[in-house]
Symmetry: C2
Subunit: 351 residues, 2 copies
């Protein structure tokens, strides 16, 4: 029995545009008693998920979750390991995911949000923040619920995914290509990422949006236009894909990372293509499908086992590096899921 | 037997931004023989429909119809009267609608596009370009097919209609208010139009988008946000409504008149509200529902008879005034359907 030193990173100020990691966040070390109340557990955080959506949570606006408050621990999904338990459903050593934030320890009464990880042979616990976590579920539900991909897919169905080398995009692209057999074109921000997408992941084509010939290249690989556009970036890429949207095409608005740091983002100038092509643009939030998570994880696990989906992570060591890693996420420094490794899992965890 | 002098207005050049009526169009008088080939009819144009969509037809871009060619008669829907017939389905005196363009006469073989008007007691033939024509059908199918209003409507369902005093908007607003009993807010461009919308049409509220307090006013009348937004204007009004869109709200993208004269229109900066509010934005073209026109016209006729829908027209006399009237349409000078009266119907028409 005693006190643990808990390293936390809190929101210090709300950035207007780009995040300055030194002024937006503040690291603090606080004592945390390991005495547990009824049903409480004490966990050690192993991995922190970094997501584009975090930029929105830092804003004081009407959204799908309340904003993170100033001086509040920055919100994130984490993988953690139970190191002390007063709860019959969680024992020491158990791994779980939950919204625990940017801190090295957490003490709490488990909620619906606290989900025990069923360890999967050959799959790292961190995968439960990526492909088998909200990241993968986001791709899954965006494609199935908004894009109705299961009924619309065919070998002639052209899918374009922006941010295709990013966490969610990479899952979405693989599902469309290797589960549904569509023609899949990935958009990414470097030649290396494009090669990864075609050579390692097997997409039909990959385009570097930073290329001067990007729009021409997009036209060349979408001779029959774009039936489904899974958009993670917004901005000029969204406009380019609106210009190429097919009759009755669908735009699944998953994210708009290109705009999140922009105090005055511009909208998609070519949105009137929605009229001329009778197209649909629809947003979604993964949380709405919580009742279907079980089936989704079962499907995704099966697809991983069958070798249809492969996981990719970019891992930064140390919680103190979370602010700079978040900034790098917006620069596109990651391939696949962006994670902070806070600590290693213990084979048998105890205090 | 002889030649008729046919007054035509052709597209002379493609405007880049605002339409200059003197350079964009050219009036010409051409001889038209009244000799009819097999199945042909000769008609006198009575009314020409002016529509925001015409601005798009003047552009040389990929769209839902081919662009009007330079030196081609400007495309429009018209009401006309048969003055000579070689077709057993059309007799002299019959009224019809068709895509006959900006001209005073037309000679052609009737197609599927040539629809005989069933004269409706107390309803002007011009109504078949407005409420009982493509204008009304556009409102009808946008609301029913894209907005799924029949299943979504309730007394608590807040509908906002932009361009609510315009041709399509006025029909859409009336259907939502008087057929489905929704809370309906109209947006228009003058105090007079707003008074017309509340006092004559019976909407719950009407807002002048030119007012400095427009966004504040919109917030005040949408305390539970906007469930359905029927958008005819785009631009800042679309952005304002995106900011007020409700959870699972729908944006029916009918038109974007505010952008049609803009060489570099800006897009809706707040489109990311589609994500946070899980909202849908979808465009449509009335032509896609041609197979359902019959049922729609039957419904609309019934609603007119029941006094639920009232027709409103702004009529300009003389085909030579079509170019300036089109410019005025983009300035919002009309209330309800904008028409050119070319000629009066003859009680018994003959050459």
């Amino acid at each position: 029995m005693g006190a643990i030193q808990n390293t936390q990173i809190v929101l210090a100020s709300r950035p207007v545009a780009e995040i300055d990691p030194d002024t937006a966040f503040r690291l603090q070390k606080v004592g945390l008693s390991d005495e547990l109340g009824a049903d409480e557990i004490l966990v050690k955080v192993l991995y922190i998920s970094l997501d584009p959506a975090m930029r929105g949570w830092m804003r004081d606006i009407r959204s799908y979750v309340p904003p993170v408050q100033i001086n509040e621990v920055m919100r994130s999904a984490d993988v953690a390991q139970v190191i002390k338990s007063n709860n019959k459903n969680f024992k020491v050593g158990d791994l779980l995911t939950g919204t625990l934030g940017w801190q090295s320890y957490a003490k709490f009464k488990p909620t619906k949000d606290t989900v025990k990880i069923n360890v999967f042979p050959g799959v790292s616990p961190s995968t439960h923040l990526g492909m088998l976590g909200l990241t993968g579920l986001t791709a899954y539900f965006g494609l199935h619920e908004v894009g109705e991909i299961a009924t619309r897919a065919s070998a002639n169905h052209t899918v374009v995914v922006s941010g295709a080398a990013g966490a969610t995009g990479l899952v979405a692209a693989q599902i469309c290509k290797h589960v549904y057999g569509c023609r899949v074109i990935g958009i990414a921000g470097s030649q290396d990422k494009c090669e990864y997408l075609t050579k390692e992941i097997g997409l039909d084509a990959a385009l570097n949006y930073k290329s001067k010939t990007f729009f021409k290249d997009l036209c060349a690989v979408t001779p029959k236009y774009i039936d489904t556009f899974f958009d993670n970036t917004g901005g000029d890429i969204l406009d380019a894909c609106l210009r190429r949207i097919a009759f009755k095409g669908r735009i699944i608005v998953c994210g708009a990372i290109s705009t999140y740091n922009d105090a005055n983002p511009k909208g998609p100038a070519y949105y009137s293509a929605l009229i001329t092509q009778r197209a649909r643009m629809e947003g979604f939030i993964v949380f709405d499908y919580a009742k279907k998570y079980g089936q989704a994880i079962q499907d995704m696990s099966q697809w991983i086992k069958e070798g249809k989906l492969q996981s990719k992570e970019t891992i930064t060591e140390g919680i103190e590096n979370a602010p700079t890693a978040l900034v790098r996420l917006f620069k596109g420094d990651n391939t696949g899921k962006m994670l902070i490794r806070v600590a290693e899992a213990d084979p048998v965890a105890k205090l």
